[in-house]
Assembly symmetry: D2
Homo-oligomer: 295 residues x 4
């Protein structure tokens, strides 16, 4: 089917490539046009403008780095809202805040268009291997229309119901659970370390038993090897995510003591100069609090 793809960063490139591979009629657009070269060579049409991409006749997928970029592309002059026909579908696949998605959903609705939020779980290598998970939220009919595109891009689509911002919430919750896992590992590694046991032994116990999964394997490795400067997510951005979760929790009246512990840990890390490092510094900060590490 016809489909346009806006935003050809590292993730966008591989995602769009899979649409081509699956035989869809792909049109691509990127602010820096040189990013379209490779896909164009492989058969994609190149749009000269957002309006161009919106006029192709199929859904428009965006994969943008942050809320600012998404807002500009959607609500800017000559943007998606201005250009997409009535009943047109915009699928926002980046990771965006609930408020952003909520306000864009309203803007699309006012223009007679439909927004589907569909953030993804994984990095470029996961996309290439065909194992990407997609969290889709929006009107069921629209999701039905774009499902073949999700099937081409990823392995599995998780439904988060009819409200687009719910997809953002599930992603935030996933991240919060990960923060709690990192904090728990940090606490356990400090205890093991102060007891004089090799931390790597504990790492092996964890990851060969109940916790044989990416979250524990990669972060326990980062902690044991002190890879604070191989950044997946900075402590600053992790704080922002936790802050969003806590704001939702305040609105919904849900006490989240573990999320608070993570927030405090990240604040401590930031207070000790680690704001720009990987959020696995939560474990470094735990070790400081335990007197295992000096400032």
């Amino acid at each position: 089917m016809k489909v346009s793809f806006i935003g050809l960063g590292r993730m966008g490139q591989v995602m769009a490539g899979r649409l081509l591979d699956a035989g869809h009629e792909l049109m691509v657009y990127n602010r820096s046009p040189e990013k379209t070269a490779e896909l164009s060579r492989r058969g994609a049409k190149v749009a000269r403008s957002i309006a161009d991409a919106c006029g192709q006749g199929g859904p428009v997928l965006t994969m943008l780095a942050d809320d600012g970029a998404l807002n500009a592309v959607v609500t800017g002059s000559g943007g998606i809202i201005d250009s997409l026909p009535r009943h047109g579908i915009h699928v926002a696949m980046g990771t965006h805040q609930m408020e952003t998605i909520r306000s864009l959903a309203s803007a699309h609705e006012a223009a007679g268009q439909v927004l589907v939020a569909a953030p993804v779980l994984g990095r470029p290598a996961v996309v290439s291997s065909g194992k990407l998970g997609i969290i889709a939220a929006g009107p069921a009919e629209a999701i039905g229309v774009v499902q073949p595109l999700f099937d081409a891009i990823g392995r599995r689509t998780f439904s988060a119901g009819p409200t687009p911002s719910s997809a953002s919430l599930l992603k935030l919750c996933n991240n919060m659970v990960l923060a709690c896992a990192i904090e728990a590992m940090g606490e356990a590694f400090s205890l093991v370390g102060k007891a004089g046991i090799a931390t790597n032994s504990f790492r092996e116990v964890l990851t060969n038993g109940l916790f044989q999964c990416i979250a524990y394997e990669s972060y326990s490795q980062a902690i044991v090897d002190r890879k604070w400067d191989e950044v997946n997510l900075t402590a600053t951005l992790a704080l922002k995510d936790i802050g969003h979760v806590l704001a939702v929790a305040e609105a919904l009246k849900v006490p989240l003591p573990s999320a608070n512990v993570c927030r405090d840990r990240l604040l401590g890390a930031a207070a000790h100069g680690d704001a720009a490092r990987d959020w696995s510094v939560m474990a470094l900060e735990q070790a400081r609090a335990s007197g295992l590490e000096r400032d």
Copy 2:
């Protein structure tokens, strides 16, 4: 090699069976003698007493349900300390408290014997499939002697160093990390639930992404399906474990805020009548605190 096995509960049966399968010369002892029938049929010798088992000439493995049973078998009159020759090796494979292991290690040492602690990670089905993990701690030489037995019983041995009680600590830490994971899931499920999103969608996001492992798969299922009465570990026993972790942490001066959150959650569950249910009631108690569940 020659080996004696004391304690033929459900775990002990399958563990001892694997020693037979691997061709070791097995002698077995159990307080209730009928438990020895099946292994005897398959070729094991049956000891009439603990002393008998200790006199066979090889290491003595115990797999006992609790610290009381282990203390009775080891330090009771006619027990392992009384019966094992000098330089004899006792391998305690049950899950025991650090203090118990510490005091038995001293008693064995005073008698010129050696204690190896080797608690295991897994249930009977895991043993049968050959995937059991074993955490071994004790003098390196003794562990070298019994390694072929560990290789027959399990898939992998994790070394926790020369102090037997360290093996108990690693197991406690593993459990603490699991408690934190359950708490984090409980918090996330309450948030998702109050946001009006199907909890099962979030379960799928978790367990198809970063958390594709037994801990998250089984406990998220228990939470979504409200299987509070399928008991793996009662809230009461979980409290006891967390209490042990916190006592070690106090001795070593390690602040453990997440462990405290778990302790408080379990206390809340117990205060609401759930002490005898599975510790996944941590999520039920979270839901109560969030106003999602009534008492």
Copy 3:
């Protein structure tokens, strides 16, 4: 000296009255003019407009109920910014948020005027008895000018330095310490209650010993007597205050675990339907979490 007073609610009435008592030349203004009657009778001039009040020639004091009212009076058309001469001093004595004070301070500065923030500690009865505390923050010279007015209104002025918003922060911190005190009492009363000891005995131990002060006397009484519906500060407003403290703490990188505990407790209370009651319901919610109270 000449002074104008805007905002004659219950606090404003008694504060302005003390200025008259001390012999200052008072001009008053209130949106609802009937509130000026009593002070007028006692000798105050009545301004017909904010502009009128700002033209009297002395400092302008405001005592307004919330940030919305303050913003309207200061930045609205014909408001203080429009009307106060260059070098004129506006003293904001209500309890306002840091951001509000920060933005009004900029607006005054741009108009060549000076803002002093001077929130007070106490209720009308405290003002009448001459025991009001005033937290003053702003340029030292301006505070010097208005000090005689503070001396007339209250007993003591605490200096919070040259930045007006610092006064708001001190007030927020004072409130946070109070929240922690209420939470601590809640925890202790639950423990005492479940131990079968009369809670009033514990109340007496507290308030006749180290904690012989208003905070503990009044809130322990509220808890023991279950005066959840005599509202000093609703749980909702307390949550808002704690939220402001936590936002400042996030910006300054200060982990605040006790403040988080209070926030969670207030969220729990709100989740159980107590949002509009007095924030002493923190203790009621604690009792619920301990199984002492049913929903």
Copy 4:
């Protein structure tokens, strides 16, 4: 009335002195006999042994430094249990653990004697000024008998009911509330400090307003003046007290999140080498966690 007093440390001296002042017939005993000189000069009889003191015919009051000393005096050979007649009353006025009081109460009961626990709130100077508070727990009839003695020693007696160990619990709870107050001050002072406001201003706001009491006055002073080495209670002993509170809370199923925060803070302080300093180092440790202080 006749009364014997055992334990003439600094507190014991002034307490016993007040009994004399009130005209009671006092007999005193102390392990180091030189401590009896001053009271003897003022008219007290001096007992040569515990048995002697128990044979005087009135109640026996003890004021001993710790549980070890109390146990020795009560249950040792020739101790109070051995020497006090049936129906004799022993009033333990030191600060002792619940388990100690519980076990001594049983021992006295088995001997047909009565134990009243009556720990006090205050230091020697408070006793001299006649303002001591006494928390009394035990059989009502026995308390009735000794009430005139309490009236001579202190200003006020708080009743903690018929179970002697309840008095210990109230004292522990009082201490827990104080720990929470110190933690709250530490959090607030870090926030104020990082905001660039003079900490002493905040101290004045606190202690001239809602918190005008010994707890806040003395500990805020200790924090602002960094008097970590003027020891009222060491961090180590504070940890022990909090540990006792948490153990009672576990038995009674009461979650105590603020007490946990205090425990973690004290553990952090101990991990950074401050175990032997005054527990006001909770604020120093808070400042470390906030990056305000280096190790």
